[in-house]
Symmetry: C2
Subunit: 175 residues, 2 copies
């Protein structure tokens, strides 16, 4: 007697730590928190919607020294971006599949904060979960604050999950 599952959108991104092509620490934290504290054993009561927003500049950072000689080179680059995004989403979808929670995952390109709010408007989840690094005000200025923007502008309730101190890497700006 539960009716439609509660639809939770999770905005997930890649780690900024080099050589670590996986979900960011704060994305994984937000995901595990959602499973532990909200979904719990009621796996049929929830559906998780994973949105990954690819930032063209960031994703191309490793390519600063690359030479693009043909349209083909760009196509390869785009394919590689796509592969990275898919690899990220696969992590979350596999974990959901293993525990029996329904999910959907998709990739968009653009400015994360704007795309997340636009996708909330389109998909109308019951609420949005975003991870955040829990930076101090000084660090925040240079890193941007996707979570703060979403809390203010997303057209659904938003819950922000901070990393715990022991999960933070040496440089807290990394994630």
């Amino acid at each position: 007697m539960e009716g439609d599952p509660t639809r939770i959108m999770l905005a997930v991104n890649e780690s900024t730590i080099k050589g670590y092509p996986h979900a960011s620490i704060s994305s994984r934290k937000a995901f595990e928190w959602t499973l532990q504290k909200i979904v719990r054993s009621n796996t049929s009561g929830f559906k998780l919607l994973f949105l990954h927003v690819q930032v063209p500049d960031e994703d191309g950072f490793d390519d600063m020294d690359s030479v693009y000689a043909s349209p083909e080179d760009f196509k390869n680059l785009r394919n590689r971006d796509r592969a990275k995004g898919l690899h990220l989403l696969e992590f979350f979808v596999e974990r959901c599949h293993a525990i029996g929670v329904g999910c959907e995952a998709w990739i968009k390109k653009g400015d994360p904060k704007e795309v997340i709010c636009r996708e909330v408007k389109r998909v109308q989840p019951d609420f949005l979960v975003v991870g955040c690094r829990g930076l101090g005000p000084f660090q925040r200025v240079f890193v941007g604050t996707v979570s703060e923007f979403c809390v203010k502008h997303a057209e659904c309730p938003v819950i922000t999950i901070k990393r715990s101190a022991e999960e933070s890497p040496q440089d807290p700006v990394d994630d």
Copy 2:
């Protein structure tokens, strides 16, 4: 195999609408949302912690024309405040009892935003739910913004639940 229930703190207050000594529209909205979207059928997986912060000035508003002639009068006033707070909490506790969700409820006095953050620190809930009126920036200036303060300062994740347009009274500052 669920372990300890997820402890959700809900900050609840009385309606500001005169002659309506019940839970505010936004408190009831936040409560019903929590039951529908989070607790769902998993009643043993959650425990709801209701905190009502009484504001001495506000609660004494009806007494502007009263005359206090003896210490006894103040005692009666305090008893009446207490009765109003208990009446408010009874609404939430009865509803939880009816559907079988564990709960606790208590009253504190002071500035709601500060008391809520202090109680979060003391009680350490898994997250905090606060209702809000969804006022525009102009209205907000004169009403204060408990929810915004908690989002920034509470030491746990916070989810803010807005009233829907059709639930708002004629004067949106009322609640």
